[in-house]
C-alpha cells in the first residue's frame, strides 16, 4: 500500500460530510474523483487522518442553469460536464478546455469542483472559472453558504480561500454573453500533461479578458485591448506574471508563449 493509513468515510448527505469535515479539525481531506488527491496520497505528500469520499452524495450530483450561470455540484464528473447537452453554446470556454484536462480515463473519474479545490496553477478549469469571473460556493457547519468570486478564491499554489471546515458544494460558470468569442489553448510537453502555459480568452469587440495559467502561482486575468496596442499589452502582461525557470520551461519561453500564443488566439477569433 502506498498511502499512509487513514480512516475512510462515505457520507450519503451534504450535511453529514460537512459535520465530518468540521469534526476532523483540519485533519481530513475531501475525496471526490481522486484524480489529484490519490496521486498526492500515493506519494505521501499528504497524510490525512480521515478521507471523506463525497462521490456517493446524490444531492451534490447535478448540472443546472441558475441566475445566468451553469452551476455544477461537487460530485459531478468532468466527463459528465463535457457530455452536458448544449455546453458548447452555454459555456463555450469550458467546452473547449475540457478535452485538455488530463486524459479521458481521468475525466471519467475527476470532478469539476475537485480540480477547482486542488487549485493547481496550471489547471484548466480554475483558469476558465477565473477568466469568466465565476464563483465557488463553500458550506461550513454554521451560517449561510459563502459565495466566493474566483478572483479571491485562488490564493496561490494549491492554496485557496476555503477554510478547513468548509466543503466546496458548487462552482458557477457564467453563461456565454452575446457578441463575445471564447477561446482556449495551451502548450504542454504532451497532451494531457500540466500546461506550461494555458490561455483562456473572452473577446468582446475591442476588449479581451485574457486568463493565463501555468505561469504565476494562480490563474491571472487581465483586460487588454483586442486590436491596436495588443502586442504591447501582451508583453507587459507577460512580464507582470513573474515567470520563473523550472524543469519544464524557462521563464523567457513562458513569456514568449504568452505573447505569441496570446496574439494568435485573440486575432484569429476577431472578425476581419
Amino acid at each position: 500500500m502506498k498511502p499512509a493509513a487513514f480512516d475512510y468515510a462515505r457520507p450519503a448527505t451534504r450535511r453529514e460530510a460537512i459535520e465530518l469535515l468540521a469534526g476532523a479539525q483540519g485533519e481530513a481531506r475531501v475525496l471526490a474523483g481522486g484524480q489529484s488527491l490519490m496521486a498526492v496520497l500515493n506519494m505521501r505528500l499528504a497524510e490525512p487522518a480521515l478521507v471523506i469520499d463525497i462521490t456517493g452524495i446524490d444531492e451534490l450530483h447535478y448540472i443546472e442553469e441558475r441566475d445566468g450561470a451553469l452551476c455544477v455540484g461537487a460530485a459531478t464528473r468532468q466527463a459528465e460536464l463535457a457530455a452536458h447537452p448544449g455546453l458548447a453554446e452555454r459555456v463555450p470556454l469550458v467546452a473547449q478546455a475540457l478535452p485538455w484536462v488530463g486524459h479521458f480515463q481521468t475525466r471519467n473519474r475527476g470532478t469539476v469542483c475537485g480540480s477547482v479545490a486542488h487549485a493547481d496553477p496550471s489547471a484548466e478549469l480554475p483558469l476558465c472559472l477565473a477568466t469568466l469571473g465565476g464563483e465557488v460556493v463553500l458550506e461550513g457547519r454554521r451560517g449561510r453558504p459563502r459565495v466566493v468570486p474566483a478572483a479571491s478564491f485562488f490564493q496561490g499554489v494549491l492554496t485557496t480561500d476555503r477554510a478547513p471546515g468548509e466543503l466546496i458544494t458548487e462552482v458557477r460558470f457564467p453563461l456565454a454573453q452575446a457578441q463575445t468569442q471564447y477561446r482556449f489553448t495551451e502548450v504542454a510537453m504532451r497532451h494531457g500533461d500540466f500546461a506550461i502555459v494555458a490561455l483562456a480568452a473572452a473577446i468582446r469587440g475591442e476588449q479581451v479578458d485574457l486568463g493565463v495559467g501555468g505561469v504565476a502561482d494562480r490563474p491571472v486575468v487581465r483586460t487588454l485591448p483586442a486590436g491596436d496596442g495588443l502586442d504591447e499589452a501582451l508583453n507587459e502582461f507577460a512580464w507582470a506574471l513573474g515567470a520563473e525557470d523550472d524543469a519544464h520551461a524557462t521563464a523567457a519561453y513562458r513569456r514568449t508563449l504568452v505573447r505569441e500564443l496570446g496574439r494568435q488566439l485573440i486575432t484569429e477569433a476577431r472578425p476581419c
Binding site: 462515505r10 500515493n42 480515463q105 481521468t106 497532451h191
Partner: protein
C-alpha cells in the same frame, strides 16, 4: 473495512485496509495480475480497467469507492477465446514488451465503444493517457483500427 463488488461477472467481498487502491484489490486480494501498475499517479494508463462500463485508472481509485460497482479487467474482457481487440493486437503486432498492453486494450475497447469508426487521429487522441515505453504506438493504432472494423 468490507468491500463488495462484481469483478468480471463474479460477486466478491474482501476485508481491506481503507487505503487499498482498486488496483491493489484486483492484483493482491483477487490475484488478477493482468492489470499492471506503472506510475501510481494516474499518468501512464497501465492500470486501466472498466468501472461501471467506463475506462478508469485503477491506481487512482480507492477500493472502497468501487463498493457495489461492476469492474471488468483484462481477464474478464473475452467471453471465451480472445476479444476482437486482443486478436487485433496479436495480428498487428501491437505489443513489444507487453507491459502497457492490458491498459491499452481496456482503454481502446472504451474508445471504440464511443467512436465506432475512429480515424487515426481519434485513436491517437483517445490513447493519449496510455504510455508505451517501447514506443510501439504505430502498430497499436493499426490494431485499434482493425479491431474497430470487427467490433
Amino acid at each position: 473495512m468490507n468491500v463488495s463488488l462484481t469483478v468480471n461477472g463474479q460477486a466478491v467481498t474482501r476485508d481491506v485496509d481503507p487505503r487499498t487502491t482498486l488496483v491493489e484489490l484486483l492484483r493482491n486480494h483477487l490475484s488478477l495480475t493482468g492489470t499492471h501498475v506503472g506510475c501510481d499517479t494516474g499518468q501512464c494508463g497501465a492500470c486501466t480497467v472498466h468501472l461501471d462500463g467506463r475506462a478508469v485508472k485503477a491506481c487512482s481509485v480507492l477500493a472502497g469507492q468501487a463498493q457495489g460497482a461492476q469492474v471488468t479487467t483484462i481477464e474478464g474482457l473475452a467471453d471465451g477465446g480472445l476479444h476482437p481487440m486482443q486478436s487485433a493486437f496479436r495480428e498487428c503486432h501491437g505489443l513489444q514488451c507487453g507491459f502497457c498492453t492490458p491498459g491499452m486494450v481496456m482503454a481502446a475497447v472504451d474508445l471504440v465503444k464511443r467512436h465506432p469508426d475512429p480515424d487515426e487521429a481519434t485513436i491517437r487522441d483517445g490513447l493519449e493517457g496510455n504510455y508505451c515505453r517501447c514506443t510501439g504506438y504505430h502498430n497499436i493504432v493499426r490494431a485499434v483500427r482493425r479491431a474497430a472494423e470487427q467490433m
